[in-house]
Symmetry: C2
Subunit: 264 residues, 2 copies
């Protein structure tokens, strides 16, 4: 059966009511091209695009935008050689690039969060899903051991943390992506009586400084920061598995990047 | 000579034309109180406030806001015990808290940047100051050795980096605080022909991903991320020195916090 790019896009967005405004658009390629293979990835990096081409895939489904801007603002990148090389590769290869961000976050539960929790092996401990966060109630462990578990399951070499590494935690708030700011994260500590928040990325002067004051006041709180990509990549692997079930005849690959940061 | 709080504030903002809109306001305390001692700090944490009180200082000059929000939005913190304890301490102690953010960044050169460059011992290498960044041209060194130098001078235990740690660099773009985003940082690589950008904080999907693609394309680029506080604290130490010269009779202290993150 012939499957074209628009068919896949329609399937991806079908679980969610149509969004009036969204960044989830086809950035490159044509909707009526027949799909020969699909790559899912967190970020459509130069490496991911080259991998997709060499795998014979002609559709990349990426969570983030290709040109280092959530809203595809390339106004300051005109004549920039990094941008130009990447754009030319996308254009000349004829590969399609669909961004799958807003709709995936609006799955019930959030598809990115579901991937993260599955990868962390915490599905049995989910207490509640909310649109912007989930609560898990794990068997009591220290912050240090939770960090070790998270690093092992996500395949990463470090996390950033605040608080006593020996603090015993069981009630955890999880926020994937850039949801670590005070608007999303702070009210959870009190409302949900959390020991620990684990988030992807957020402003450093907000939640980390709240946790610093809370700890200094003698409160039972801690924070682990995963990194943006680290918290959302599992969602794109999860998506690849989902698509494999829908389109068993189409070659499907999840391409994982190396962590963008090393610690020096 | 009696010096009151408003006198100090007037001195602080005098090098800059009056701003119509600014977060630099007196958050606690009264303008006509006589100053008994001054503490400068990056973040007015619970620890910093207690230190100020025990030092007998009644004016804290802090770069960031006390309640985990750039615009003092405390709407979601009502009845939050961390917020309430901190607010009560500020109120009951009668200590004055002045935020000194926008004006300091508008000094010529930016007072925060000047503090950072002095602390890094790179004053002789400054090539150009711009409002949002400075260019330094240091004797050629590897990324690894530059990171070691930066960590030693700032008294921090880690930085996050992307790129080959053996890459030789001499032309560096410096951006303090939350200026690491693509709007500020990306155009510099090409326009200023930089080897390396060092910034405080910025969105992880912007500049780090640009550098990732640039490196993958074989370009001579690297990135070091200091952390927000790590990049701006020296500016508040620099300010304490400045104030010591203006008010030699007032006890002046710079209170340094521990880094908010540890690596696990």
């Amino acid at each position: 059966m012939r499957v074209n790019i628009q068919t896949v896009i329609d399937a991806l967005i079908s679980p969610v009511a149509r969004l009036e405004q969204t960044v989830d658009t086809l950035k490159f390629g044509h909707p009526d091209t027949e799909v020969t293979g699909i790559v899912t990835a967190f970020m459509p990096t130069q490496f991911v695009i080259e991998q997709a081409i060499s795998l014979g895939a002609n559709l990349i489904i990426a969570h983030e935008a290709p040109f280092f801007s959530h809203h595809d603002d390339t106004s300051k990148l005109k004549d920039d050689p990094v941008y130009e090389d990447k754009r030319r590769l996308l254009e000349s290869s004829g590969i399609a690039l669909f961004r799958f961000h807003d709709y995936l976050h609006r799955y019930t539960p959030d598809g990115v969060m579901e991937g993260l929790i599955q990868t962390l092996d915490w599905m049995p401990y989910v207490q509640e899903h909310h649109p912007a966060y989930s609560i898990v109630h794990i068997p009591t462990e220290t912050v240090f051991n939770i960090a070790e578990h998270v690093k092992k399951r996500l395949g990463i070499s470090f996390v950033r943390a605040h608080g006593d590494r020996e603090l015993l935690c069981s009630k955890i708030g999880l926020l994937a992506g850039y949801r670590g700011g005070s608007q999303n994260a702070l009210p959870l500590f009190e409302r949900e009586q959390l020991d620990l928040i684990i988030y992807g990325e957020g402003p450093e002067w907000e939640t980390p400084e709240y946790v610093r004051d809370a700890v200094y006041q003698g409160r039972h709180k801690a924070l682990i920061v995963l990194g943006h990509a680290e918290s959302e990549e599992p969602g794109m692997e999860f998506l690849a598995n989902k698509l494999r079930n829908i389109y068993p005849e189409i070659p499907l690959h999840y391409v994982k990047e190396r962590p963008v940061f090393q610690v020096l």
